[in-house]
């Protein structure tokens, strides 16, 4: 092929690949558009005050809401945080302030592996620990524990990343004032990194808020208000799932509404993260 022809061919190929890449990008982002569109179209009309305040209506009856599921999700998130946040933050402190390089590499490695295992496995573990021995069986505790297990490696990684960014000189100044190391860490270094740590916790919550599988046989779901944490509790993702696979149109409609609320909750959490990270120091 002549030089000119070869050049034209290469240019053509370049343009072709360029177009292909753009097509790929469009295909990858389009599902977001689809899903938002349908969520709003199918769900928005069902979002009303009743939806937020009513309990589910009996099977087959039209009406009712998801009040208990919304509250239940919040309950579960709080319970999960009591497990995930202290362990995750303290672990992150260890990696940043105390750990040697090799041990830290190992811990990070296995934390990343843990982050990749299917969430239903955590449900099975919580089931074996709490539900099976009736301690106390299907409950908010069991669901919270399963979600809390998931939060630990997430919070640990983000906490470490943020603490490492705190300049060394603050630690030195604190120690030079005669503060014991634990005070230097908790009263000087942690507050300096607090915004980042909160960001990491919010991200972990956003991730865990939408999980259904671990709740299937731990929190189990509830058509009524959950009176105590040792009882089964409703949760948004669970409710959406149950309604979606049911044969009732009205429940389908409510599933869309619930999905819209859930996505809204998650987006709110993500937006707060973005807002917190963008503020000037």
């Amino acid at each position: 092929m002549s030089v000119a022809a070869n050049h034209r061919y290469r240019k053509f190929k370049n343009g072709l690949m360029n177009t292909l890449a753009i097509v790929c990008a469009l295909l990858v982002i389009s599902p977001l558009g689809f899903i938002l569109f349908y969520l709003i179209r199918q769900g928005a009309s069902s979002i009303n005050w009743a939806f937020f305040t009513n309990l589910p209506a009996p099977v087959g009856q039209v009406g009712g809401g998801m009040a208990n599921a919304i509250v239940g999700t919040i309950e579960l998130l709080l319970l999960a945080s009591t497990v995930g946040v202290p362990i995750g933050v303290l672990g992150g402190i260890y990696l940043s302030e105390y750990g040697g390089e090799r041990m830290n590499d190992w811990i990070r490695f296995w934390a990343d592996v843990l982050n990749g295992i299917p969430s239903i496995v955590w449900g099975i573990v919580a089931y074996a620990l709490i539900v099976l021995p009736k301690l106390p069986g299907f409950s908010a505790y069991a669901g919270g524990l399963a979600l809390g297990f998931m939060m630990i490696p997430l919070v640990l990684r983000t906490t470490e990343e943020v603490l490492v960014l705190v300049p060394r000189s603050y630690r030195e100044a604190a120690l030079a004032l005669g503060l014991p190391q634990w005070k230097a860490i908790t009263r000087i270094v942690l507050p300096t990194a607090l915004k980042g740590i909160i960001t990491g916790v919010l991200l972990a919550m956003a991730r865990v808020a939408g999980e259904t599988a671990p709740l299937l046989f731990t929190a189990f779901g509830n058509s009524y208000w959950n009176r105590s944490l040792s009882q089964p509790v409703a949760a948004l993702p669970l409710q959406i799932f149950n309604y979606a696979i049911s044969p009732y149109d009205d429940w389908h409609r409510q599933a869309w509404a619930g999905a819209l609320v859930l996505v809204g909750l998650i987006f709110c959490l993500s937006l707060s993260v973005r807002f917190l990270s963008r503020e000037k120091r």
């Binding site: 240019k11 977001l32 990749g116 799932f241 979606a244």
Partner: protein, 321 residues
Amino acid sequence: MSTTVASVSAPAELERGSRLGNRIFYLLCLAAALSIGVLLVLVAYQLYEGSHLAMKQFGWSFLVHSTWDPVNEEFGALPFIFGTFVTSAIALLIAVPLSVGTAIYLTDLAPLWLRQPLVSVIEMLASVPSVIWGLWAVFVLIPWLRVGLFPLLQKWLGFLPFFRGPIYGIGILTAGIIVAIMILPIVTSVSREVLRSVPNLQREAAYGLGATRWEVTRIAVLSYARRGIFGAAVLGLGRALGETMAVTMVIGNNPEIARSLFAPGSTLASVIANEFTEANSNMHLSVLFELGLVLLGLTIIINIVAQFMIRAISSPETRRA
């Protein structure tokens, strides 16, 4: 704290006090960090213990047996292993080329002002929960597939055995498609990180030789990043193996080895989700635990491989994956 020398040289109890405080705090943090190891052991142990009954009963043949009959207590894992692999393979086939293409676009081709918005969109996609994808798939995607894409596929590719058979809309192929959509964000982000870590020197050398943009990407970037991109794909595979909710909602939950892509099937995760609360015998429950153990083993191995590959590509420049 007045000013004499004696008072500032704190009494002995202060000396001990701060040492104790330091020690306690250190141990707390150490215990928390070691919780990662504890979690790993806990997960493996609980699943192993729960499957003990089933393992004793069925042994290794469990993995290759294909009958699933809870009533007669005859159990075999093969349909689920098959379903898991096929849906994951379909998902990878669809997602990896799209993700790598998008990653290339984001790193080298897209105009600068467009990059951050696109990245944000992909992050938002990653945060959509599985059950919502399932909801959308059931009410939007499946009807469209049933009357649109699937008949077309059957028309063009019906000569292949696995494109024959009745079209319900639910099934293995649908599950593969929805899982592909769900793993697109993570494979794209990781691929993008990998491509970004290719040093500019490589690109500049290729440009200097008069290569076109695509050629630069192909020669200088992709071959350098090959391992990392493979790692991204393996990571996506790890995610795909464990996808539960959306799969349960679209796959049909038929505990048989599907004969066609349009037929219903089942995966390890979906059968656990489906049958766990309705298991009516200890054996049934134990078998489900064992399926969970198989799933855990698969995903841990795949994730370990993925983590190694991702760390290998970024070692000289950036130690953090």
